[in-house]
C-alpha cells in the first residue's frame, strides 16, 4: 500500500504543533535561532534545516482585488513518485524508496556529496555541517512501519493533516477541493504536481492557481540537466572510456609500436 499525507491548508491554524512533534519524535530539540525569528514573520526558520524537517510557511498575500490573506502551510519532503534526489544520488542505497512510497535516506550509505540537494526541485534535503550527511523528513518511516501515523499527523489539532492510503487521500483531497469550490473558492484545487510523477504529500489549496503563494513551486520537475547527466551523458562517458581502452588495444594489435632503428 502506498501511503500519503494530505495537508488541507484551509484548516491550518499555524499552531506549529506539527513542528514541535517532528522535533520531539526525531530527537532534534530546539536550538539557538529556532525559537525566535527576527524577520517580522511568525515563521520559525527561513527554510528547512538538516535538523528541522517540518516547517510551517507563513505568507502574507495581497490579491489583485486588494483583499489580504495570511496563508499558512506545512512544508517538508514531498516524497515524490519520481524523486530528483534519488535520481541524482551516486551512492547505491543511500536514498531509496520504501515499498509504501516513502523516499528515505540511509545515513550509513550517504557520502555527503550533496547531489540530492541539486536534484530536488523543492529545496528539501539539507547537509549537516557536523556529520556531513544529508537529512530530511522520513514521513516517520520508523513510526509508519509499525502501524503508527507520523508525529506531525498525531499532533495536528484541526484535522488539517491526514495520513493514509494514497488512493483514499487523493479522493478525499478532490472531495475537499470540490466542497471549497461549492463554498465560493472557485479556484480551489489539489496540489499533486505531475512533473515529479505526483507526490506522496498532497495539498488542498484554496487557490490552486497560485501555488507559489503557499511557498510551493509551480511546476516542479527533475531538472533536465540532471536527466541529461544521469542519462545520455553517462552513456557517452561509458562509451568513451570503454571505447578508448579497447581502441588503444586494437590499435596496438593492428599497427604496433613506432620502433626506431638504433
Amino acid at each position: 500500500m502506498i501511503v500519503a499525507k494530505l495537508i488541507d491548508t484551509t484548516s491550518c491554524i499555524g499552531c506549529k504543533a506539527c513542528e514541535a512533534a517532528c522535533q520531539e519524535w526525531n530527537d532534534q530539540g530546539l536550538t539557538a535561532g529556532m525559537a525566535k525569528s527576527d524577520d517580522g514573520t511568525y515563521q520559525t526558520l527561513p527554510s528547512l534545516r538538516h535538523d528541522f524537517w517540518n516547517l510551517i510557511k507563513f505568507k502574507e498575500v495581497t490579491r489583485e482585488d486588494g483583499s489580504f490573506t495570511w496563508l499558512m502551510s506545512k512544508y517538508q519532503c514531498m516524497h515524490c513518485v519520481d524523486a530528483g534526489c534519488l535520481e541524482a544520488c551516486p551512492a547505491p542505497g543511500a536514498i531509496f524508496r520504501r515499498e509504501n512510497g516513502i523516499v528515505d535516506f540511509d545515513h550509513d550509505k550517504c557520502i555527503g556529496c550533496g547531489y540530492c540537494i541539486t536534484g530536488c526541485p523543492f529545496d528539501v534535503p539539507k547537509l549537516s555541517p557536523v556529520t556531513q550527511k544529508v537529512y530530511k523528513c522520513t514521513l516517520c518511516s520508523d513510526r509508519t512501519s509499525v502501524g503508527l501515523e507520523p508525529a506531525c499527523i498525531k499532533a495536528c489539532p484541526t484535522n488539517c493533516l491526514t495520513f493514509g492510503a494514497r488512493d483514499d487521500l487523493v479522493r478525499l483531497a478532490d472531495a475537499r477541493a470540490e466542497s471549497l469550490r461549492a463554498d465560493g473558492h472557485a479556484t480551489a484545487g489539489v496540489y499533486n504536481p505531475a512533473g515529479v510523477g505526483g507526490t506522496n504529500v498532497l495539498y488542498v489549496l484554496a487557490d490552486a492557481t497560485r501555488p507559489e503563494d503557499y511557498g510551493l513551486p509551480r511546476d516542479p520537475t527533475i531538472p533536465w540537466q540532471v536527466r541529461l547527466w544521469k542519462g545520455p551523458l553517462k552513456w557517452v562517458g561509458n562509451a568513451v572510456l570503454v571505447g578508448g581502452v579497447v581502441g588503444a588495444f586494437l590499435h596496438y594489435l593492428r599497427y604496433g609500436p613506432k620502433e626506431v632503428e638504433e
Binding site: 547505491p92 557520502i111 556529496c113 541539486t118 540537466q225 551523458l233 588503444a248 609500436p257 613506432k258
Partner: protein
Amino acid sequence: MRVLRFTFAERAVHWMTAISFLYAALTGLALWSPSLLWISSFFGGGEAVRRWHPWGGVSFAVALGLIFRNWSKDMRLDSEDRKWLSQAHRYAVNDESGLPEAGRFNAGQKVLFWTQSVAALLLFASGVALFWPEHMPRGLRLAAVLVHPSAAIVSIAGILIHIYMGIAAVPGALRGMVSGWVTEPWARAHHPRWYRESVKR
C-alpha cells in the same frame, strides 16, 4: 649517445600532475554512477572520496599550472602543426613519410596540452560550484553537473591516448619522462626539428 629531453623539474611536475590526475579521475569515476561507487573502496570509502576528490582536483590544477609555466611557449601551434594535424591519420597508422617535422613537441602533444588546460579550467570552475551545494546558486550547480563530467570525459579520453602512447605506442617515450634521457636516434626520429635546432647545435 643520450640526449636530455626533460629536466628534473619538468619530470617532477609532470608526475605530480599524473598522480593527481589518476587520483581525481578514479575517485571521480566512483562518484560518476551508483554502479561505480565500488571504486571508492580502494580510496577509503565513499565519504573519504567525497572529501578528498576535490583536493585531488586542486592538486591536478596546480600541477597543470606548473606544466603550463614550463611548456606553454613550446606548445604554440604554428602552420607546420596545422599541416601535421591535417595528416594526423597518417601518424596514427605509423606512416609518417611526408609529415612535417616535429619540434620539441609534435602537434598531437600540443593539442593534448591545450585540451587538458581548457578541461582543467572547466573542471575547476564547475568543481567549485559542486563543492558547496548549499551555498552555490542552483542554476550554477545544474550547469556544473553537466560541465564537470563533460570536461572530465574529454580530459580522460585525451589521457587514455596519452598513456597508451607513452607506455606502448612510442617505445622510449616513458624512459624520457622518467629518467629524462632519450637516445639520439629516438630524438631524430620523433622530434627531428627539436633535435636539429636545440640538441645538436
